[in-house]
Symmetry: C2
Subunit: 125 residues, 2 copies
């Protein structure tokens, strides 16, 4: 995906272009991680509680994630009450794991940095 205003130099060691806002925004990151942990899906209220989101916010985020084909939203009944079931799609799962790999790189870079020796800074990398 081309980005505007950002020169894509090979020197951009810490640019993390893979941190797409679609995954990276906290509410959506919370929803997607919950769904990854529950492969058969979660009903709306379970998801709402796991993520500490309001009804309105969860609805908006799910619309956005469904439009991007990352999640599926199913209407049905459970215990005689109308329910909404949400599941990850297979492409959604794949793309999310790519995002998670990038997040893991950030964590490793930050931890490696903590251990970096003092003298190697100020030198252009």
């Amino acid at each position: 995906m081309p980005t505007n205003n950002k020169p894509d130099k090979p020197a951009a060691r810490y640019a993390y272009e893979g941190l797409d806002r679609l995954f990276h925004e906290r509410a959506r990151l919370s929803i997607l991680t919950s769904l990854m942990a529950h492969p058969q899906g979660l009903v709306f209220n379970e998801l709402k509680d796991l993520c500490a989101l309001t009804d309105g916010n969860l609805s908006r985020q799910l619309t956005q994630l469904a439009e991007a084909s990352l999640v599926e939203v199913w209407k049905g009944t459970k215990n005689n009450r109308p329910q909404t079931l949400v599941r990850m799609t297979e492409p959604g799962k794949k793309k999310f794991l790519e995002y998670i790999a990038q997040l893991e790189a950030v964590v490793n870079d930050a931890i490696a940095g903590e251990k970096a020796t003092v003298n190697e800074s100020l030198r252009p990398t």
Copy 2:
């Protein structure tokens, strides 16, 4: 830190309240990880290249990070040219590592979810 509109229930297993936007936004995450990897600091142009940011964007982000006392900004000269040196502060380093620990929890949750057995979903957790 109290949050509005978000019930802080113990059930909110995936709420990740520690993912403060101050650290989590991609440009700032990029800047802070670069600085962690270079404990003696980086001059403005090095940081700009490592993060693939524009002058304007980097300046704005640094102002925000300095106002939050996460980074120090020093004016001086290097090779007879005026330069700006940026370094993490000690409290900034500590807070950023707390954020990184939370990010690591997300990564671990997502990876654990990938391996989760199919039958344990749909049950409220």
